[in-house]
Symmetry: D2
Subunit: 360 residues, 4 copies
């Protein structure tokens, strides 16, 4: 089933193919009266934009967003916000090979099996280009939750992880890898460039932290905040794993080690929320936020489009092999980082509104 | 927001508290004409039932399910199926401590922060007892997808994993751990019993495989099959991580290593589906099933209820400590295994129907 | 498709057949902290209860409601509220005729055409008995909107209407017809009794007014407040028409006649809302409430179960005729009146919460 | 709450304001492989298009639709179909009066009350211009239900009804009123023109018939086919009443008169469906289609925008009066007729897919 809407009351619907005239989203349910302009959204898109350095695909897309509805005199009206990006760099290339052969790791075979045929140009609807619209919608979602600050960064590429002791939040935007550890960033230059030159690709792990989430967002049984985050992150192209808090690491701790003890609020700030002395839970208990930072980790597989030939079949079922020539990211996890932030923002904003609906 | 319904067209709604009169679910959208009886569902519940051995909680609940609607003369009618279990073993114990103090790792504080108060008896709505209803609904969901066989097993307890070379599917139901490796099962006896005696608890990793899923189930962008599975699994009590296929391991592979090459269908069985020579993807590409086995891994944290005292605060914000006396599983992942199977069945059955809606 | 859930954030799911063990509903999304008891709900059910006089069916059902979840120490907890009624008076009668023949005006043929078979005992899931649960859920919904008062009454039976000049709100609960005009109530006694004795039945028009709805509830395009009301009312058994405000009468007015002019707020009450000098619109403009009374009119067809024989076919397609012996309401619109109130309450409460979600 | 999506599995989301850059819809869930082109959709839009004669508004909009996604090589791909219309004739007129004063019968006051402000240009999001997108989406929906033929017509204008004895289906498209009775069409010319010249407006009743709907579409309790139609129709701008089958007329019939007797299938066509000898029910029993024509009647109020001044207040609460100068339809029901057809198509197509989901 085609299902292109995300969210329960703050709902994002996206449409568009990689090589169609445009990609776009409609964001419905946004509160009214929020200042919003194209100039505010554009930097978020620029962060995800391709073609910025040799570590990402060389497709050149300005990705200039237009607001086509839902904003009047600079403020959201409460009606659906349409955000649209024209596709500019649709190289008139030869698609005959990809039209006929199934690229392993891509949706080609699955789409054909489901729908009988597919728009094969640039991956069509399955292209990661769709995630640009999540970034645009996520930028708006951030305005719905001004109390929250969200930051994602790459914690590991090709199995080479950052050193937490060298974590520097200022560093994240300073290198092409969203890497908070300057030494790791240096190593990754060689690593990613090597993979690119070898016609190969690398996976990555992205971490995301949301600070300022008050206690009480989420739902007790289904639509738990962690379950929604897991679904949101796993739905990003190339993602194969999601952890909340300690994730799989928690499965190796004892109950005492994994507990997040609570201490009384510090007396001097008038805030009576408990002070937690650990955050193994990633800020969520029983599906509901606890006011600790909400944390998750997301595993991206290596880019499936590689120059190295891979065995496959064509649509007639005959054996062949395929190497993906085009312009591709040697490590999709890098450009996935702003998408992780966007999905975090969309989930939190939706649950802020849901919480307000029930609890006022 | 309270949100107690799971699924899009095959929809399960659950209700009930651990120590209320009953727990139950309503399964709506089930196809008509399917043979269904209490006798068919009961063994699935028995598999999850507490009190069966010293490795699980000693609460004694027969968990006898009653079908109260939606079945006539032994067949589903297409109208909502109500499944209900009376709560029998509600020990009249003293809840004054848990009523006043927040148990770390439990939903106590989060519920109070969200709703202002909570039903504290046995965890109320946040009790894992709710998952019995998922198992009951999952048993029905299996009947909707007779072409699929689902099996889950425990692959790791407290960091001690099975040896894949000793994997024996027959073994899974023969030991109290759903463990496919007889030697690991032996080791776990000592491990889990030791944790129990020490007033501690252990985490676990559960793996689940669904065979027979045809190509084409799932959705291209949101409601991707892997995203729905991730949300379903992360929504199980105590789960902190989910992987599809190779999961976080895929982030450490190169593009060539991670590819799932395709070969032509074997000529002699009349089946023209491709033969994949690997399954790093876990049976899902672009959110859609490929006819390979659908695989996922689920991380359960150690039971939060432990005899060892943990620092916490009470509802007045004063420092205290709490040790959970009652009857608890030393490793919740064990009894979570049938729940993982149930959620897999519910997601797959829902997507079978959704696929049929759009593609006939 | 079976779809047994109503509402967007305040969601009611019902289950149960007329002659199964019980009928019930699950109300999810209710705000926490609201005082709720069985004693509060029961009078609403008693108002709809059968067997109270000769103008309604003689089936004797105490319809005693039990709260099985979602309430703790007398207050709603924010988790799903389960309301359940045991079916007591399931006369062991002979259903062989209705099992085999299709009763015109009933769902018999449609259910068989859709599902292949049906639970024919007392109409099964299609029985108006299901509406008891709407009344129970509606009673809870009223507590979510204490600012609103809702009253429905019968305005017409068998084409014989009330005289608006004799409208007396106190009269409504004093006669067995929910009739605000004492003279009409007198006439209807003979009318309804005559139909009953003749083995016939009568239709009715029910009007409903909700006062105190603030301006701003509803939605601009889909999920308009009037559209939701229309769907809610048309979904009541036996309803064939719905009007908001002047309804079909508005189609016969000129634009000037139909306008609802606005005058400034009266200066002395500190309320700056406009004073409308007419309410042709029924309190809703552009799908959003205007603070005028929300009004609707609902047409109930005559009871389809009549003693007079009607031509029909049996499930083998053979010609036959059927007369419905059992115990039936000569005019279902009468007992439909509390159901109309309940659906009004459910729609308004849902939209109060939705409005709060978006607009705070 | 803003809620701009219609449908359950075939889902239409619309966006855009009357005087913004464009209006558009996204249709999700459409089956794949259906031939679709702009040339197919355009005539449906032309039928609704303004400016065609003196009986409709003189706004000149080509309403040229573009397909921006979801169609590849002339066929639907199963992914979201984006349909977009640029707004051309946005006269740079003086909106200061409508910006400040509330037009009675319009959404002006309600929007301000809900959202705090509004896009007042041409009615913004509340403009009936949005219904163009329903017509476009409805055209696609028709392709999903090729077995069904849908026709709507105007049955009454300003209280002057057609004569059923003169009903000629060929006549409907021959006059500017979608009127099946040539004599009524003649009378309406004078009637509508008179209203226009008098600065007044007229209401209308539109009837819609869908033939070829098989038995079994719909749902038993909520999401009944008639309830969904009622919601769909009442959600059209200016609609105040909806009837299924005999509607309010049924409330004046006796049970015998209102019965739709069934007779055996005619022997010679191999079709074993019953022959109904009447259709008071409008083709729906118990919320499910019976294979009879599905019929409904829809009441449109007179256009609220009239030249005759009406008393109102401004946004400061001061008394004023307003006359709507612009270009307006003297009878919105006329141009509402293609919208009624579109909503019928959307509801039926959605329920065809829903039925297929559950019942195969």
């Amino acid at each position: 089933m085609s299902w292109n809407t995300f969210g329960r009351v703050l709902r994002m619907t996206t449409w568009g193919e990689s090589h169609g005239p445009a990609i776009a989203c409609v964001l419905d349910g946004c509160p009214p009266g929020i200042g919003l302009s194209e100039g505010y959204i554009q930097p978020f898109l620029d962060a995800r934009r391709p073609g910025q350095n040799k570590f990402t695909t060389q497709r050149q897309e300005p990705d200039a967003v237009r607001i086509l509805s839902g904003v009047f005199e600079g403020r959201t009206t409460g009606t659906p916000i349409s955000l649209q990006i024209e596709n500019i760099d649709q190289r008139s290339k030869d698609y005959s090979e990809v039209a006929k052969s199934y690229r392993p790791g891509h949706a080609d075979y699955a789409y054909d099996a489901k729908y009988g045929f597919r728009d094969y140009r640039g991956g069509g609807r399955s292209s990661a280009r769709e995630t640009a619209m999540r970034v645009a919608a996520g930028a708006v979602a951030r305005l719905v939750i001004p109390e929250v600050s969200i930051v994602a960064y790459v914690a590991e590429i090709g199995g080479d992880g950052i050193d937490p002791a060298r974590f520097d939040p200022q560093e994240i935007a300073r290198n092409p890898f969203w890497c908070p550890d300057p030494q790791a960033a240096k190593r990754w230059e060689a690593l990613v460039d090597g993979a690119r030159k070898a016609g190969s690709s690398l996976g990555a792990v992205v971490e995301c932290v949301a600070r300022g989430v008050p206690a009480g967002w989420g739902a007790p049984v289904y639509a738990k905040l962690d379950a929604e985050l897991a679904g949101a992150m796993m739905g990003i192209n190339a993602v194969k794993g999601v952890e909340i808090g300690d994730g799989f690491g928690a499965a190796r701790l004892s109950g005492e080690q994994n507990a997040d003890p609570m201490r009384p609020a510090s007396s001097d700030n008038g805030d009576h929320s408990p002070q937690f002395t650990a955050n193994h839970a990633g800020g969520i208990s029983g599906g509901i936020s606890t006011r600790q930072p909400v944390t998750c980790r997301v595993a991206f597989k290596p880019t499936s489009s590689i120059l190295t030939p891979v065995e496959t079949i064509d649509s007639d079922g005959q054996a062949t092999e395929i190497r993906t020539k085009g312009r591709h990211d040697p490590c999709v996890g890098i450009r996935g980082t702003p998408v992780v932030e966007a999905m975090m923002a969309l989930v939190l904003a939706d649950h802020k509104l849901l919480h307000r609906a029930q609890c006022g």
